[in-house]
């Protein structure tokens, strides 16, 4: 039997400060990139044709190069995010460029850029001649048009609203099956994953297209899945080991599910890596978003969701105990409860497994 891990005993929660610091730094990095770019007149995200519209150039060839060759020569001219689309005529191709604005000048710019790129395949047919009539012409630009965004602001806002509603659904279900704190921690972890991934897209100015949105939805799914697997184990272990502290149970549960976490995430990671490497230029945004999402989705269920849940549960427990004390001494309850909370936080920080005395909440 091949086994990746045998009887691991890692104190994950001891490193929670470092984990959260790393995550906050990553999120701040992305946020700064977006804010600074926006403030200096650049765009926070490199939005594709889907979101902001652009220019469509229709070109006709004598000898049509492959889509890949056309795309390569466009990249040489600095156009990375063009869509190259075949038509029903084998010699004609549509090239969509993400250029903002629908003015004639913008359209002309787009046309000039495409002309420069296509000159790699031969000269353009003379303006007054048709392609067939010009013996030296290799291609001609048949038409140039501006197109609006496929996904306008309305669709974008609706997408965000729907996704938030879905997250509320997740929160409520986890709250019913586990506790409110578990649900909140899982949703916070998901937010973290999406923000970090978007941060990468802003920092490196990778193109955000509709496919990236699909990838973000997918990574939300993966992240929640991962978090629930760990939480599920915590719930089970709390029933089995009522004398152990939540701190210890959480660490044990992460360790027990570690081989599953590594195998599943590793397999998905490898498959997506294959897509990043061999999937081609157009799908790169999609596969990169998935790749980053899987790494951070896995990381966040261990490093974000679990510590937040433990911290929250301990606060509640401390508050409950303080309330119980206050029942006997109903004076100056506020001060009492604060000292209790501080004490429990100290106990947790020291990494000492705290005995909760069988007061299991589940």
């Amino acid at each position: 039997m091949i086994q990746i891990f045998k009887d691991v005993r890692i104190d994950w929660l001891a490193n929670r400060r470092a984990f959260i610091a790393v995550s906050v730094l990553l999120m701040l990095g992305g946020l700064f990139s977006a804010i600074i770019r926006q403030a200096t007149g650049h765009q926070a995200f490199n939005l594709g044709v889907d979101f902001k519209g652009g220019t469509v150039v229709t070109a006709k060839f004598k000898q049509r190069p492959s889509d890949e060759e056309i795309r390569a020569s466009l990249v040489k001219q600095g156009i990375r995010d063009a869509i190259v689309q075949a038509t029903d005529k084998p010699d004609t191709v549509l090239i969509k460029l993400p250029l903002e604005g629908v003015s004639q000048a913008e359209v002309e710019t787009g046309r000039a850029l495409v002309r420069n790129s296509l000159n790699a395949f031969g000269t353009e047919a003379k303006a007054d001649l048709h392609l067939a009539a010009d013996p030296n012409g290799a291609y001609e630009i048949v038409g140039t048009d501006a197109v609006g965004a496929v996904a306008g602001a309305q669709l974008r806002n609706k997408a965000i609203a729907v996704t938030l509603a879905a997250l509320v659904g997740i929160l409520v279900y986890i709250a019913l099956r586990f506790e409110w704190t578990y649900g909140a921690a899982a949703v916070i972890a998901v937010f973290h994953d999406v923000l970090v991934t978007l941060g990468f897209f802003s920092i490196f100015q990778w193109e955000v297209s509709l496919t990236v949105i699909a990838a973000l939805l997918t990574l939300v799914g993966f992240s929640v899945n991962d978090t629930i697997v760990v939480f599920d184990r915590i719930r089970e272990n709390r029933r089995l080991h009522r004398r152990d502290s939540l701190y210890k149970v959480t660490n044990d549960s992460i360790n027990q599910t570690l081989s599953r976490t590594v195998i599943t995430s590793g397999l998905v990671f490898l498959s997506v890596l294959a897509m990043v490497l061999f999937g081609g230029e157009v799908l790169r945004g999609f596969s990169l978003a998935l790749l980053i999402g899987i790494v951070f989705g896995t990381y966040s269920s261990v490093a974000i969701a679990s510590p937040i849940m433990v911290w929250w549960e301990q606060r509640i427990e401390a508050a409950n105990r303080a309330a119980a004390v206050n029942l006997n001494k109903p004076i100056r309850g506020g001060v009492q409860s604060q000292t209790k909370t501080a004490a429990s936080r100290d106990a947790m920080a020291a990494g000492a497994p705290k005995r909760s005395g069988g007061a299991s909440r589940i």
């Binding site: 075949a86 029903d88 629908v102 496929v150 609706k158 659904g169 496919t211 949105i213 629930i228 294959a274």
Partner: protein, 567 residues
């Protein structure tokens, strides 16, 4: 007991698998031997699964909103209203006309220019000509002139385009065309709309439907009241001559074509030709109410009811119903006409007050009645639409990208299968069988739901496969754990499945719940993602848990006593 259980499970799995396979590659017509060959099955699969624009391409339609018609209509409407308002206020109007070439003007020629200011006030109180951002007023001799400003022309034309875009959007949705893209096209002043839709069955019908103006009006037909028959004229010239001697029609009258419906019982040959039955009627302008007051419209068979004899029932919104009720109450026994796109569909006299519903009769076929009801429901287009360009386009992701994407996914899938077989040995076969079954059934699900597969849909499939592999990993890791604690093989399998099942249910239900939100409230790409994910995860509960479990039971049953489990 165990044996019987296993038999039941095997039969259920076999039935589901065969059913799934039939849906995916089974021919829809009378099967021939060729359909079960490799290329035959491939062809069936290609025709069964609808691929979206990004993966397969589709038709590419560029249309233009004739905004000049919209502005013309608006100017003419205001002219009639201005004429009526001035007359109602007791002023004499010599003529009112609309100028729509080289700018848009409402011109009211009055008898007494000294009262121009009063007339202007009277008109602007009733008609929206007082809006100075849209209309600039001037007086020239005995003519009161309102000229539409250039900025208003642009703004109104842009608004008409946006409105047309929204109406086309709702018509496409009502038609059930999945995953189209709809966007503005060309420069802003060209008022063009680009629609791309993945392969549709009947493109001509779609084109006609989108183009359908569906301008519905209820009008007062100028005629002596019932029991005299409704006044009709044989030619339009005759009709015009009857109301004006000079051959120009007053602004508050329109002459419309009316094709009398065939009497189904009549066998007289002259009733059978459309030319013989074409007549002309004079109606009052403006209309009593128009299509913007519609609340609902639906196609129903007529009471006399041949199979191809349909009419359209409609109901009105509150405002329209009030207006309509007041008017019909005051005009008992007079004639009213239902006008669709400037042609009178039917004329009837008003027996009693009508409030909020009515019929459009016209011997429609079932499909034309349904199409008309659909366009009426989605609202009238603000202006007619013309098609500028129509062509078929390839996949927007590019065929080369799709090919490399497919190659990369196959590499990824091969890696997963290889790992499962090496790491979990014999039990890895369970996982692979479950995975293959999941993919077949997922395809079947997509076909049954008539879903259109796009890249976001494929993202949903990737997540499903990820979670399917995860389910097996969860189960196998759990069985290994149970074995390590010294349990017997059957009880380790039992416990492993039992424990892992709770986790699997939680992860699946959470994701299904969130996907349902995306499905119900989401649009386009988000919906595509949710559809494949929900189908895939429901199937996964069957394939990863039930099927995998069955294989284990079968393995256990094969030997009396199992010494070791290949996991």
């Amino acid at each position: 007991m165990k044996k019987k259980n296993l038999l039941q499970r095997t039969i259920l799995i076999a039935i589901v698998t065969l059913f799934g396979l039939y849906i995916v590659v089974g021919p829809r017509h009378r099967p021939s031997l060729k359909d079960f060959g490799w290329s035959g099955m491939k062809a069936t699969l290609a025709s069964n699964i609808h691929l979206g624009l990004d993966l397969k391409g589709g038709s590419h339609l560029v249309m233009r909103v004739k905004t000049e018609e919209f502005l013309k209509h608006l100017t003419e409407g205001n002219t009639v209203a201005a004429d009526n308002a001035a007359k109602e206020a007791g002023f004499e109007v010599k003529a009112a006309r609309a100028e729509t070439t080289g700018g848009h003007r409402v011109i009211v020629q009055v008898v007494d220019p000294s009262k121009a200011e009063d007339i202007k006030t009277a008109i602007q109180k009733k008609v929206e000509l007082g809006d100075t951002t849209t209309w600039s007023y001037s007086l020239s001799g005995d003519q009161l002139i309102w000229t539409m400003t250039g900025s208003a022309e642009r703004l109104l034309a842009d608004n008409a385009t946006t409105q047309a875009l929204n109406i086309i959007d709702s018509r496409i949705n009502a038609l059930g065309i999945t995953e189209p893209t709809l966007q503005t096209h060309g420069s802003q002043s060209s008022h063009q709309i680009l629609l791309q839709m993945p392969g549709v069955q009947d493109p001509e019908r779609v084109k006609n439907l989108l183009k359908g103006e569906s301008r519905l009006e209820m009008v007062h037909v100028v005629s002596p009241p019932s029991p005299a028959p409704a006044q009709t004229y044989a030619t339009d010239a005759e009709a015009i001559a009857s109301v004006s001697s000079g051959g120009t029609l007053p602004a508050n009258r329109r002459v419309l074509k009316y094709v009398e419906r065939m009497d189904p019982t009549s066998t007289a040959p002259e009733d059978q030709t459309r030319e013989k039955r074409t007549k002309w009627v004079i109606v009052e302008a403006p209309a009593i109410i128009d299509g913007s007051e519609l609340r609902n419209a639906s196609a129903v068979p007529t009471r006399a009811g041949g199979t191809d004899d349909f009419e359209i029932n409609f109901s009105l919104k509150k405002n329209g119903a009030d207006k309509f009720g007041a008017w019909t109450g005051a005009h008992i026994n007079e004639y009213m006409g239902v006008v669709l796109n400037d042609e009178v569909q039917s004329i009837a006299f008003i027996k009693s007050q009508i409030f909020d519903s009515g019929q459009i009769e016209g011997r429609f076929t079932k499909q034309s009645a349904e199409d008309l009801a659909l366009t009426l429901r989605s609202g009238a287009l603000p202006a007619p639409i013309e098609y500028l360009e129509e062509r078929t386009v390839g996949p927007s992701l590019g065929q080369d990208s799709i090919n490399s994407g497919v190659r990369a996914s196959l590499v990824g899938l091969a890696l997963v299968v290889l790992f499962m077989l090496i790491y979990y040995r014999g039990s890895g076969i369970n996982a692979v069988v479950a995975l293959v079954l999941n993919m077949i059934l997922m395809m079947a699900g997509l076909i049954l739901f008539g879903a259109t597969l796009t890249l976001p849909g494929i993202a949903g499939i990737i997540l499903t496969i990820g979670m399917a592999v995860d389910s097996n990993v969860l189960i196998f890791e759990r069985i290994r754990e149970e074995l390590r604690t010294g349990k017997t093989i059957p009880s380790a399998i039992d416990q492993g499945f039992g424990r892992a099942f709770i986790t699997i249910i939680d992860t699946h239900v959470t994701t299904i719940i969130s996907s349902l939100f995306l499905f119900v409230f989401g649009t386009g790409p988000i919906r595509g993602f949710a559809v494949t994910l929900v189908i895939g995860l429901l199937i996964n509960l069957f394939s990863a848990v039930y099927v995998s479990r069955t294989i284990f039971i079968w393995e256990l049953g094969r030997k009396e006593k199992m010494e070791s489990l290949s996991i």
